[in-house]
């Protein structure tokens, strides 16, 4: 399962974003942010209390099942009266949810969370970024581990000099992608793949912003 991984913005930033807006409607989501405890019911309730203490009027709160689903607009229609009274929507979902809501409700949206990455659940309570959707996949030559994502520098020809004891120079809790790739290819008896020179990456895989139409 993949999840949108989020982090609560600092209180001061939220306060600043809500400056001059006294009446706030808070929206959480029942999917990723509930699991990561950044925008589920308890977090929405806590935010409500915190903002109330700071003098905001909370016109209402809700936790929609899947904020990024287009049906979210329909659900929010039922709460129209409370939403209408608000100066802004404080949205405790990932940016996919925030943007879904922004497209459907004509109201200023304030994200309460930063969206960090799309995480693969890799263990109990653990998520890792394993794909950057670059559009030019090379994991057929790296034992199924993506160095573009798993290496902090996105290096495709082997480790940098900063790797230490199999960990990354930026964080001793992060695995060095190239140590992992080396170990995987070594187990598979395919270290020859690591010796292949990888050309400079093609950054034109899908020019940003990505767009796709289902073929008819």
């Amino acid at each position: 399962m993949i999840r949108s991984i989020t982090q609560l913005k600092p209180a001061e930033e939220i306060e600043q974003l809500l400056d001059g807006m006294g009446r706030v409607f808070i929206i959480g989501c029942g999917t990723c942010v509930t699991m990561t405890r950044t925008g589920g019911l308890p977090e929405v309730e806590a935010m409500k209390d915190e903002l109330s203490e700071k003098g905001k009027v909370i016109t209402g709160t809700t936790v929609v099942p899947v904020a990024c689903d287009n049906l979210t607009g329909e659900i929010l229609k039922e709460l129209q009266s409370m939403i209408k009274q608000a100066d802004a929507l404080l949205i405790m979902t990932c940016a996919y949810g925030v943007q879904t809501i922004a497209r459907q409700i004509n109201k200023i949206v304030i994200p309460a969370l930063n969206t960090l990455f799309i995480g693969k659940e890799t263990g109990a309570s653990e998520f890792n970024e394993v794909c950057s959707q670059c559009g030019t996949c090379i994991i057929g030559e790296t034992g199924g581990i993506c160095p573009v994502t798993a290496c902090h520098k996105g290096l495709v020809n082997g480790p940098c000099g900063g790797t230490n004891n199999g960990k990354c120079e930026i964080d001793s809790n992060k695995d060095c992608a190239w140590t992992m790739i080396y170990n995987r290819l070594s187990e598979l008896g395919r270290l020859d793949l690591m010796r292949n020179y990888q050309k400079p990456r093609n950054h034109l895989g899908e020019p940003s912003p990505g767009k796709f139409m289902i073929p008819t």
Partner: protein
């Protein structure tokens, strides 16, 4: 025509390089002083490229300064701050101005420096940058377009002989050689027995290897490197030796140790030369060379 540094490498002599660290700001007095002090004593001076991801005077500007003062520069180029267009442009600029040695590096993480929120580039890696140099020497850019005037470089790279695990580093090392590295300056080595083992392996390749020597300035500095600098291991006996120095004598002890290592590398013909890094104490390179019997 090969660069003076390339000629030195090919001459079979024991080659010595050191660093000229660009200043934080446009006051180049200190750097100028170091260049003048060292330019005639070493075979070439590396000009670092925002070392440790700390924004400084550019390596290209520093390399030109070395050149203007009559020294032989090695332009350090990292892939951290420039995409392939900017890197190629700077290679052309360097070559057109007589800077004909380049050390191709990946570069430290932006997060480790003083502009932590800057965008890391890493469009290329060190082996791809080496390959780009070789392509441009043939008169083409990386997209295959013809250049009206190509470039000429003695191109090198680095290796970390004490990396743990070492095997992935060695694969990368070989890729750098295949991409066109003519010389290698190593990360700091302190354990000569370990380094000899690395050299037994590296000797099979037709590349010149200069052993990295970082001047120890105190026992705490040695311990700091062990804890914080990837691939650098100062053995306990050297830390103890630093500790044994009389009060105020740690730097002299460090010079003695560095000089001893350089002397051993030369006398035992372990590799082709040394790259002395006296980070922040560049004037001490002279003392290290004297201690090693090179001056």
């Amino acid at each position: 025509m090969p660069s003076a540094f390339k000629k030195a490498l090919d001459s079979g002599k024991f080659v010595v390089t050191c660093e000229a660290a660009p200043s934080k700001g446009t006051n180049l007095e200190k750097m100028t002083h170091h260049i003048e002090l060292l330019k005639d004593k070493v075979d070439a001076m590396n000009v670092t490229d925002h070392q440790s991801s700390v924004m400084r005077f550019p390596s290209l500007g520093g390399a030109l300064l070395v050149k203007e003062l009559g020294g032989e520069p090695i332009l350090q180029m990292t892939c951290r701050d420039r995409n392939r267009m900017a890197l190629q442009a700077d290679l052309m600029f360097a070559s057109s101005r007589g800077v004909h040695n380049v050390l191709c590096l990946t570069g430290d993480s932006v997060m480790l420096g003083d502009h932590k929120e800057a965008k890391p580039v890493f469009d290329l890696d060190s082996s791809q940058l080496l390959a780009a140099v070789r392509t441009m020497e043939k008169g083409r850019d990386m997209s295959g377009n013809e250049l009206d005037g190509g470039v000429r470089f003695c191109a090198g790279a680095i290796v970390t002989p004490e990396a743990d695990p070492i095997e992935p580093q060695l694969i990368k090392f070989e890729k750098k050689l295949e991409a066109g590295a003519e010389f290698i300056q190593t990360q700091a080595v302190y354990d000569m027995d370990n380094f000899k083992k690395f050299m037994e392996y590296a000797r099979q390749f037709p590349v010149k290897i200069l052993a990295g020597i970082i001047l120890l300035t105190s026992a705490p500095m040695a311990r700091f490197m062990n804890k914080n600098v990837a691939g650098v291991t100062v053995p306990q006996d050297l830390i103890d030796e630093m500790k044994s120095a009389p009060k105020g004598g740690a730097l002299n002890k460090g010079i003695e140790i560095a000089g001893r290592m350089v002397r051993q590398i030369k006398e035992e013909n372990i590799c082709d030369g040394v790259h002395i890094m006296a980070i922040g104490k560049e004037e001490k390179v002279v003392d290290i060379m004297e201690a090693a019997g090179l001056l």
